[in-house]
């Protein structure tokens, strides 16, 4: 939680490094960020799944999932897709520029509960950003989990995020990584097709497994259908929801999905909670 007395006032942070994950008009840029104030750095503790309000003085603030696991080090990582006013301004920043960060907000993936289980992440496009901290966390504590399967797809190979990290994952035999793109491209020798159909090909067993899926709503709808076909139980399926947010801690009232606030009761939800909330997949 924000440590200083006024929850609206953010910490200042410096961009240590930044690089483009994808190209094109809705490109994704990743920022590696260090909080300036040492005390703030020390007190900051986030879990995979939590998000933070990243801002630029004079422009505005937006909520982004923290796409790094606490096990990776004393920095924060945000992968930002170029979309609106704040993201366009963020995309113009270079290493050394100052931004503001406040948070961490929201609940996190219950990784403690999932100890001893097999973790299945199903991501689509920028949907891999909230899943990446799970992959890193499980990798760092592989002995406590029964392995990890990663299914990740995007429209084209250029749209795949974190490409540099897949090679290292496939080296370890407890971690399997399945990649797919919508249409065949030359020089691409992995799967071709949509993520939900790849899920059926991989045909993971629901036995002692947790499935986490993030991505465009249309993909989530079909992935959930297929997971039910693979008779995954509702409580075994998790996802994160995304809504417009302004405060981040339940005051400004806009991020509600039915009676749940995405910033307080989410962004991580189990399908068991979401399935009887009609507005969840609006």
């Amino acid at each position: 939680m924000c440590n200083n007395a006024n929850p609206y006032v953010p910490f200042t942070a410096t961009i240590e490094d930044t690089w483009f994950e994808t190209v094109g008009d809705r490109c994704v840029k990743t920022f590696k960020v260090i909080l300036d104030d040492a005390a703030a750095r020390a007190n900051w503790s986030h879990q995979p799944g939590q998000c933070a309000m990243v801002g630029l003085l004079g422009v505005g603030e937006s909520m982004f999932c923290i796409s790094c696991s606490p096990t990776e080090g004393d920095f924060l990582r945000f992968s930002v897709m170029r979309m609106g006013k704040v993201t366009q301004a963020l995309h113009e920043l270079e290493a050394g520029d100052k931004i503001t960060v406040r948070g961490p907000y929201g609940n996190s993936f219950p990784l403690e509960e999932w100890k001893g289980k097999h973790i299945l992440t199903i991501g689509g496009g920028i949907g891999q950003a909230p899943l990446r901290p799970i992959v890193e966390y499980v990798q760092a504590k592989l002995d406590q989990y029964a392995g990890l399967t990663m299914i990740y797809g995007a429209r084209t190979s250029g749209d795949l995020c974190f490409k540099n990290e897949f090679a290292e994952i496939s080296k370890n035999d407890d971690l399997t990584c399945h990649l797919t793109i919508d249409l065949a491209e030359e020089g691409w020798d992995y799967n071709v097709g949509f993520v939900p159909s790849l899920l059926m090909d991989v045909n993971p067993s629901p036995e002692n497994t947790i499935a986490i899926t993030c991505g465009p709503p249309i993909m989530i709808r079909f992935v959930l259908e297929n997971l039910k076909k693979l008779n995954f139980d509702d409580a075994q399926i998790y996802t994160t929801l995304e809504n417009r947010m302004k405060c981040g801690f339940g005051k400004c009232g806009r991020c509600n999905v039915g009676s749940l606030y995405v910033c307080k009761d989410g962004p991580v939800f189990s399908y068991a909670t979401l399935k009887d909330i009609p507005e969840a997949f609006a």
Binding site: M1, C2, A5, N6, P7, Y8, V9, P10, T12, D36, G55, L57, G58, V59, G60, E61, S62, M83, G84, K85, T87, K98, T100, P217, E242, N243, R244, K246, C247, F249, G250, K251, C252, G253, R254, N256, V257, G258, S259, K264, P278, E279, A282
Partner: protein, 337 residues
């Protein structure tokens, strides 16, 4: 705490005796009545059933600076501490509304701006003798003379006001009153009681609200929402004038190199309220927004804080340009199978 009787001709002296505080009271601002700082006691208007803009504008101003900054450096300066104040002439329903909103602004994380004002500003209520045609406070647990959320309750007799301190903040105020008022006799108390009873009988807008929070989830796809929202203009009147509405937007404003991040009232009835930067809108039409507004007040807020976020002040009925009437909606919810 003893009760005082203040002659109406001594009212100006009473205001003067509150000189130490920043005083707010209903006055004409532009063409309508709202709470504003008192500069001239003669301008205070207590006759109207209720102000157009509720007293929430004192505790939660329409536009409020969160912090200022200068472009180029990263210091952020929240505004200085506010001063002690008194807001006078608050109707019991609005005072109750403020207590309901307190729930949210102190839920898990304290909102420093709002709660500081709530601590520093005393609330002097004015019991309703003449409820307006759209008041339905009795149906949502309110009362024309309720003392919830008030530090001192005033009741208007024909030539005097009865002042009844309720909290120690109210007690402190009544010491200032003692100089200009005398102790009230039992006759006055009975008179006030009679006026309160008459006011209760005058409220003819009634609706059964128990059972509504439990019934609303089942009516998610009911035609009620489409029929109600068909005539809705999607403007912000019902939310901006609602004393329990608390939603806000945060924006940056820069002039030259000086900037500020400020928050301002926002409305769930506006399209942009939930519009994602990608263009996706989880609540694309006025049907979803109308459904969300009613569900927030009569279902979601009840699930979280166990109180209906509506005090029956009737402003959303009186000021809706197309006469969308929340009492009618609640009646239809109650009668829906």
């Amino acid at each position: 705490m003893d009760i005082f009787k203040l002659r109406k001709d001594k009212f100006a002296d009473f205001l003067a005796s509150l000189g130490g505080y920043k005083l707010f009271a209903p006055q004409k601002v532009g063409e309508s009545i709202r709470f504003a700082p008192v500069t001239d006691a003669g301008k205070v208007e207590l006759a109207l059933a209720n102000t157009t803009v509720p007293p929430k504008s004192i505790f939660f101003p329409q536009t409020e600076t969160l912090y200022r900054y200068a472009l180029g450096n990263t210091e952020m300066h929240p505004p200085a501490e506010g001063e002690a104040g008194v807001v006078l002439g608050v109707r019991p329903c609005d005072a109750r509304a403020q207590v309901i909103v307190d729930n949210l602004f102190s839920w898990d994380v304290d909102d420093p701006y709002y709660l500081e004002r709530r601590k520093k500003i005393a609330v002097v209520g004015l019991a309703c003798n003449k409820p307006c045609v759209n008041c339905f406070c009795l149906s949502v647990g309110g009362d024309p003379a309720s003392t919830e959320g008030l530090d001192l309750l005033m009741t208007e007799l024909d030539d005097a006001y009865l002042l009844q301190p309720l909290t120690e903040k109210g007690e402190k105020l009544s010491q200032a009153v003692a100089a200009v008022a005398e102790a009230a006799e039992t006759g006055d108390l009975d008179e006030a009681e009679k006026l309160h009873r008459q006011a209760r009988e005058k409220i003819n807008r009634k609706v059964e609200t128990d059972g509504i929070p439990q019934k609303l989830p089942g009516l998610w796809d009911d035609a009620l929402w489409q029929n109600t929202a068909a005539s809705c203009l999607g403007c912000g009147i019902c939310t901006f004038l609602c004393p329990t509405c608390h939603c806000f937007d945060i924006q940056d404003e820069v002039e030259g190199i000086d900037g500020r991040r400020c928050r301002m009232w926002d409305s769930c009835m506006f399209k942009e309220y939930t519009l994602h930067a990608s263009g996706h809108n989880p609540r694309p039409t006025r049907r979803e927004r109308t459904r969300n507004r009613i569900n927030h007040k009569y279902n979601y807020f009840v699930q979280k804080f166990d109180v209906i976020a509506c005090v029956g002040c009737g402003r959303c009925i009186s000021f809706c340009p197309v006469n969308i009437d929340i009492v009618e909606i609640l009646r239809q919810v109650k009668e829906a199978r």
